[in-house]
Amino acid sequence: MLIPALATVTNIVFRNQPNLRDGITLAAAVATFVTVLTILSNVGNGTTEPLVLFEILPGIDIAFNVEPLGLLFAIVASGLWILTHIYGIGYMRGNNESHHARFFACFSFAISTVMGIAFASNMFTLFLFYELLTLSTYPLVAHKGTEEAIRGARTYLGILIGTSIGLQLVAVIWTYAITGTLDFTKGGILEGHISGPMVAILLALYAFGIGKAALMPFHRWLPAAMVAPTPVSALLHAVAVVKAGVFTMLKVGIYIFGIDFLAETGASEWLMWLAAFSIIAASVVAMTKDNLKARLAYSTVSQLSYITLGMALATSMGALGGGMHIAMHAMGKITLFMCAGSIYVATHKTNISQMTGLGRIMPITFGAFLIGALSIIGLPPLGGSWSKWLLIVGAADTGQWVMIGVLMASSLLNVAYLLPLVGRGFFLTDPDAEQGGAMAESPLLVWLPPAITAIGCIVLFFFAGDLQDFLSPIVAAD
């Protein structure tokens, strides 16, 4: 049972050769998703033996294995890839963007690096694919080739490469220097090798070094990257890139430090406060943004910190909630981004203040937006409510009442910055627009995917229990 699973893991990593034609890419997307599902049915929520490809240094391999958290991440990323790809085809054609081949090639390559991250069995492999992901998404961000796009892409690359090489690499080498291994091990590998304030410093190197998790003050790249075409923003910046960041964060927390070790030493306490600050501050900034994508970007910064917070709480509930939030937030945020893109394709409007009355013209888009927004806010019966629930339980476990307050306040802020758009779209009428405008949705390929993901948000609510069971081995005691 292990062998086919292992073989498929390698397949995923190597099969996603950039294909120039949409159809083939789509097939690859579906195939990837099916393969991941096959692994799911073969492996369940166990952990496989690592498959070693190369040995770089003694104790450091390029190796892959399957474990629940990574599998979840892979399923989310590959599943949403299919939808985004369909959406991307519609968007790129609808907007007459250039360089389709380069765009989709980089896109597919980015996804294959995401698979590499998801199935990496040690920190080194993860780091390798983490860097590749940054490099492969750079051309996507700079896609428009305008001054603004180039500047945004430069910020993007500068911060991500800067933090990863400047801080994360140091942390990785440090870990290797004191433990002699970088394998992800249940319960962590650092215990007994390091103590006192050094734990907090090492954690800081990781937390800030994983720039993709957009922890303040290293969040600037996310809004900057919003110059990219919307499918890129949707998949890469709501799903793949940022999720790779928080996924790495969770991996480090759970498998390098170990939740118990973090709890004992209290080294993650400052991180918790910082995450809390990020949550609130980014939400407040989001309220001031009129550009819809920029608002969503800051909302992402805030939501990512939920996951970091989950890890920093250093309880199993917190970590579970963090893991679950990867899936929930991905589903919700991709809906919102695709809706933003859909509005842009149909009307070329990017600012919220211009969107008055659009809800009546584009009911499906705005309906999907509403559902996505509610899920982000965390209202039942939508998926987002469960992960937030778990996080709150985690915070209550450790008696961090302030954190519960932060989570609640953040939900209110979410309401304040997400819902006005819906209200404006549906209930206000634009005095300048000609009255009685007929429904004018964007093309089918553009509005269908967000509708599907919106339904996905609802479905996730009912399957949250399964998801929790599935993830629970990552924090279970041996």
Binding site: F54, E55, I56, L57, I62, F124, F127, L128, E131, L132, L135, P139, A142, G145, I150, R154, L157, G158, I161, G162, I165, G166, L169, V170, I173, W174, Y176, A177
Partner: protein, 508 residues
């Protein structure tokens, strides 16, 4: 473990390998000139270089597990006779130098045709072979004075090679002249140092020197000799404040020469520096430790930052890469200065990895120059579309220069940081990674220019000829290959580091 083979009578051809590696190009050089046939010159040069490469590879294989080969020229036993001594450190250097020259030569054929008038081709290749001979000789010899002789052979032919760039840009002449002056000062310092050592010890064989210096301990003559030798070689290495000859020389030399020199000449000099610091003098001498900690390391860090900063603001691509070379030499020196196994292994590994990385970059830029007529940034804009293969190879080289994981450059940087952490010098580890961020900036300037700008209207460039593309891509793939399959580099550099750090004991 020593596989010493002492023959006064040569038994088989394979016993002569150390000397053959040098003799082949040495004999081929006058052969080219004497035959005087333009059509034969290139094949002879290539064959000679390829033969040396095979020999070096065999040598590397036979010493990679820690032994060494001692070869006595003419059967005269050292310390009176001249000894060639091959161990992991210099076999690795031989492997690099001959490998680069064998790959650069096919590339050079097309590039030289466009940059140098045909009547000079024979002499050009003869000089190239002499330069190769000199570099190999420096690496392989175990005799201190012999180092000087070969250093001069390689330097003199290098001056000529650089001056050949004058057909493209007259400034090559002043660049060569600068280098001539600086190089000669360096050689003079070196030979003065050797003279003092000879005065103090009465021998010139390295192993013998090491013994006698260890016996008599440090005295003023030995210290003065040490200073002269380090500064003399430092000029050749282009240690930061002694680097002034390098940017012009690399910028104005013919593209093939730049690629060859950047990948080999300074690397051989770094090797000589290590040989003298670790094998001839003992690291245990207090004055040497002081030199390393208070001189070499600060200058190395200065090089890493200052030269990278200067590189960021260059408008000429070749000059940018030249400054980046100076910065990268800083990494090697830092590794040496760390004085532990990881550090020295990092220096040796970086010597190799940076060699192949810079070979890709300079060859790639040479190809751009061939098609677009200049190496200034405004001439390379939009080349990503016009010359996709060349540009992609340059990107790979650039990534390796930054040290992105999965490329050769990453491995050496990893070892270096590890070496610094082992010493507990974590600020230095952080400085290393910070300075590689500067590399991100200048590499990304190249990438943006190539891919995100549109080409100047008068450029009608097409892809470089296959004879250039193939060598470029062999090197680019090597950058990736050695990023994953680290067996060869890692074993060789660790063995080399152990051998070097063991000092004179390891030599006997």
């Amino acid at each position: 473990m020593a596989t010493e083979t002492t023959h006064h009578v040569a038994m088989t051809l394979s016993d002569h390998l150390p000397v053959l590696a040098i003799l082949v190009p040495f004999v081929a050089a006058p052969l080219c000139v004497l035959l005087g046939s333009r059509s034969l010159t290139w094949p002879i040069t290539f064959l000679a270089s390829a033969a040396s490469f095979v020999i070096s590879f065999l040598l590397l294989l036979s010493v990679i597990d820690g032994g060494f080969i001692s070869y006595h020229i003419g059967g005269w036993a050292p310390p009176l006779g001249i000894e060639y001594r091959v161990d992991a450190a210099n076999a690795f250097v031989l492997f690099l130098v001959t490998g680069i020259s064998t790959i650069v030569l096919p590339y050079a054929r097309e590039s030289v045709k466009s940059e140098i008038p045909e009547r000079h081709h024979t002499l050009f290749y003869a000089c190239f072979l002499l330069c190769l001979t000199g570099l190999l000789g420096v690496a392989v010899t175990g005799d201190a004075f012999n180092v000087f002789v070969f250093l001069e052979i390689s330097s003199l032919s290098t001056y000529v090679l650089i001056a050949q760039g004058s057909y493209r840009d007259r400034r090559a002449l002043t660049a060569a002249y600068d280098y001539l002056i600086m190089g000669t000062i360096g050689a003079t310092f070196f030979v003065i140092g050797l003279g003092m050592l000879y005065m103090a010890t009465g021998t010139l064989n390295m192993a013998d020197l090491a013994d006698r210096i260890a016996d008599q301990g440090a005295n003023r003559t030995v210290r003065a000799a040490f200073a002269f030798i380090v500064v003399g070689i430092g000029l050749k290495v282009a240690i930061y404040p002694l680097h002034l000859w390098l940017p012009n020389a690399y910028t104005y030399a013919p593209s093939a020469v730049t690629a060859f020199l950047a990948a080999t000449a300074t690397k051989v000099a770094v090797y000589v520096l290590m040989r003298f610091l670790f094998s001839v003098f003992q690291p245990s001498f207090l004055f040497e430790v002081n030199t390393l900690e208070f001189m070499i390391i600060p200058f190395a860090i200065l090089a890493m930052f200052a030269a990278s900063f200067i590189a960021i603001f260059q408008t000429d691509l070749k000059r940018l890469l030249a400054y980046s070379s100076i910065a990268q030499i800083g990494y090697m020196l830092l590794g040496i200065g760390l004085l532990n196994e990881s550090g020295v292994a990092a220096a040796v590994a970086h010597l190799f990895n940076h060699g192949i990385t810079k070979a890709v970059l300079f060859m790639g830029v040479g190809a751009l120059v061939l098609r677009s007529g200049g190496s200034f940034f405004d001439r390379i804009e939009g080349m990503g579309k016009l010359m996709p293969w060349t540009s992609a190879a340059i990107v790979i080289g650039g990534l390796s220069l930054i040290g992105v994981p999965g490329t050769a450059g990453f491995l050496s940087k990893w070892l270096l940081v590890q070496g610094a952490l082992e010493k507990g010098w974590w600020p230095i580890a952080i400085l290393v990674v910070l300075s590689s961020l500067l590399a991100v900036i200048y590499v990304w300037r190249i990438v943006e220019a190539m891919y995100l700008r549109s080409p100047a209207s008068d450029i009608e460039a097409k892809e470089a000829p296959l004879s250039m593309l193939v060598p470029i891509w062999i090197m680019a793939l090597a950058c990736i290959y050695f990023g994953f399959a680290t067996d060869i580099t890692l074993t060789a550099s660790h063995t080399a580091a152990q051998g070097l750090l063991a000092g004179p004991v390891g030599l006997n």
